[in-house]
Symmetry: C2
């Protein structure tokens, strides 16, 4: 145990000195993995040290202060402790009676976060998920079940109409997977074009719904995004919510990353209208800095999860019969599952809402710093967002996709920082997310030096 | 960090002295959870100690040697260490280039376990899942995609025929959830009746398929169970596999628990026919004693996962373009996800295949011991299985469902052991699973004393 704690502490103490990303060598990592035939057995400390050391050499270090990547956090110390404790106690989060406190801690978190979004506490419900994709899948199933209660029994083939739903062309591609997995097929997903500032074009959205009605399709769900993966833009949530209400459609906000704005008083207003949502996706493993994965599905419909997922079995524990509690397995896509919520609970207990508000304020300042520096150096910022995600070009035509990707590849290969690129309209741009509490002013300066 | 390691070590050292299960008090656990308003902040060690101590008082202790429960393991020390390390390094298992070694370690495990089941190594593929439910869901989607390649685009409503599939009436209810979530609806699931020994009745299965053909339905999937939740029975895998081949149906074996028999040389033959499977569900967080959740979907069709889940995005990392590797997000229902496989990798590195074979042998011996003791005391064993799962009655008519449940409730409430009950046909029975390496001979004797 001592070696293991030491290894973990040493990593956290020294990660900022490591190359942010490894050299990619398929043969090397594959050979290492396959060298374990499991025919001989290793001493525990030897196995741990050997494998930990190799893993540390062979990954992109999301906890590194120069990781400007895709919303993957430097995990809080409390989430590491929580994951170790969860693995030790190994509670079973299928039956309430098996893990009563764990179930109630998750319930309290779900309601507390829903409350931050302005959902009414008395109706708020939800569930932790493996990630945002499962939360989005849950939203789709909830929307279908609300509109067509017979679907659970009779399936989609029993419907007279063809369901269709709407997501921004800049929205997350998990909706494509989800549309397929739900039996709707990719063709049920209407990707709505965006305006010049990369937000859903409301006129196009209205026109698409109208066209679908005319052609006999059945619109059932609108999904604005609060913080797109590409440019961090916030769709016009209130307008889309009003449209959903007017048309009687389920209104789901994909706030996987940007939803954290609800915890920062200065930013809360950018989510204006989210309080109308029928459901919300939020990922605690993004801006709230807990280790992967900790997705959340939140809703204002307290009965919808049971309607989607409840089932009677002869073999589930019965000790809580008659109590006013919810068995998690009857309330989510998953069945037996990990106690996902503890890492958020412990992190929140230590940071408090104020601690998270301060962290969010810090990232925004770092975002502003990066933007200001780039503008001063004559770069052109190409995304408009209040969130700390920065995209830019040289303002000339020379900066084509290949050059941009080559710059990013060179930075990544140097191990000095990790950045990605993004296609915004016809042009490619570097893509910086300021997501880590350890990214201070000097780290941004230093990264810029390595870039140019 | 020190307090945390100490807390974890102390728990593991003393868990066998704790009551196995807590008194259920909704108000108490709810009040404790809600007492955290997150308005003030706790010192890290104080928060950890307070919450860990309360959790320890308020859960069923799956690591306790008198936990005879539903396949939830006493986790290996290596899986606890692995979960802590995973939380620390926090690798992102969506893009191969982000976590190349983690991705290759999971790939190696998938192929190694598939090999144990007799799937051809050169074709074997698969993915870790949040649990068995997601693995079963993956199987359903794979079976649909294989039979109707257009489903991914056009959805189920585009099909001329109504898909139906077959699971034992004793199979896992996750298939009901899965049928709903896939848009097939619960009515697509044919629960096949069982014979007196609780195995799928082959004649009924054949008749059901024939009837569905006659009525214009489209059978596409057969699912035998290797180790049912209720009685631990193994369906006639080879016969069902032959039937599936003959009829051109996808053949999926739900071996979530019983699949571990593939690791015990004496038990391997009970899985006879599993090598014919198109796909297999296996849960490492059951008999392989790793912490929750570590489901696996295994298949002999190397292209099927990509056909189900692949999608192109502008924002995913591109460093591995051109390399012969698989990006995990294009290969599973999940997108960003936790490094699930490390806890199995480390546990296997330390135990080796031989260590797991010995553990399986031990549980079987404990199962035999319990059975022999019960028979000697004139109880009647009512389930036939080579696996260590024991159900029994008094052989008289007096033992009705209420009495049985009252006995189980009394045992659970005493905190002396944890058992559940199961309905087998018309009668109720206590349900004992011998799942923990720490359950030795004296623990079984002691549990029997507390029972009667």
């Amino acid at each position: 145990m001592e070696t293991r704690a030491t290894t973990i502490e040493a990593y956290l103490r020294t990660v900022d000195e490591l190359p942010v990303s490894p050299t990619l060598d398929v043969t090397k990592v594959r050979s290492f993995a396959e060298s374990f035939t499991f025919k001989q057995s290793f001493a525990p400390e030897e196995a741990f040290r050997l494998i930990a050391s190799e893993l540390i050499q062979s990954q992109v270090h999301t906890p590194h202060p120069q990781y400007f990547g895709l919303f993957n956090p430097a995990p809080t110390a409390m989430s590491i402790a929580a994951d170790a404790l969860v693995a030790t106690l190994n509670p079973q989060l299928a039956a309430w009676s098996h893990s009563p406190l764990a179930a109630e801690m998750e319930r309290h978190l779900v309601i507390s976060i829903a409350d931050k979004f302005g959902l009414p506490r008395s109706q708020a419900d939800g569930v932790f998920t493996s990630g945002g994709a499962e939360a989005n899948q849950t939203a789709l199933l909830a929307a279908l079940a609300q509109r067509w209660p017979d679907v659970a029994l009779c399936g989609l083939r029993g419907l007279k109409e063809e369901p269709v739903f709407y997501v921004s062309a800049e929205g997350h591609h998990s909706f494509l997977k989800v549309a397929r997995a739900a039996g709707l097929g990719a063709s049920s997903l209407r990707e709505i074009e965006v305006t010049d500032d990369l937000r859903v074009d409301l006129d196009s959205l209205r026109a698409a719904i109208q066209r679908d009605h005319t052609n006999g399709y059945a619109p059932f769900l609108l999904v604005p995004t609060a913080g797109t993966t590409g440019a961090g833009v916030i769709d016009p949530i209130r307008h889309i919510g009003s449209l959903a209400r007017e048309q009687g459609l389920w209104f789901h906000v994909d706030a996987a990353w940007g939803g954290a704005a609800a915890l920062g008083p200065e930013l809360h207003s950018i989510l204006d209208g989210i309080e109308l949502a029928d459901s919300i996706t939020f990922d605690a493993h993004k801006w709230l800095s807990v280790s992967m994965g900790a997705g959340m599905f939140l809703t204002r419909h307290p009965d919808i999860l049971s309607r989607c997922f409840a089932t009677q079995t002869a073999y589930m524990p019965k000790e809580s019969e008659g109590m006013q509690v919810v068995d998690p397995f009857a309330h989510s896509l998953q069945w037996s599952r990990r106690f996902i919520g503890l890492k958020l609970f412990l992190s929140l207990a230590v940071a408090g809402w104020d601690g998270y508000a301060a962290a969010i304020r810090h990232q925004r300042e770092m975002g502003k710093l990066l933007r200001d520096r780039l503008i001063k150096d004559k770069w052109k910022i190409v995304n408009r967002t209040p969130l700390p995600l920065v995209c830019f070009t040289d303002g000339e035509t020379k900066w084509d996709t290949n050059i941009c990707q080559r710059i990013a590849n060179a930075v990544v290969a140097s191990g000095h920082a990790w950045i990605s690129t993004i296609q915004l309209g016809k042009r490619s741009s570097p893509h910086f997310v300021l997501a880590s509490p350890t990214t201070k002013r000097n780290r941004i300066t230093s990264m810029l030096c390595s870039l140019f």
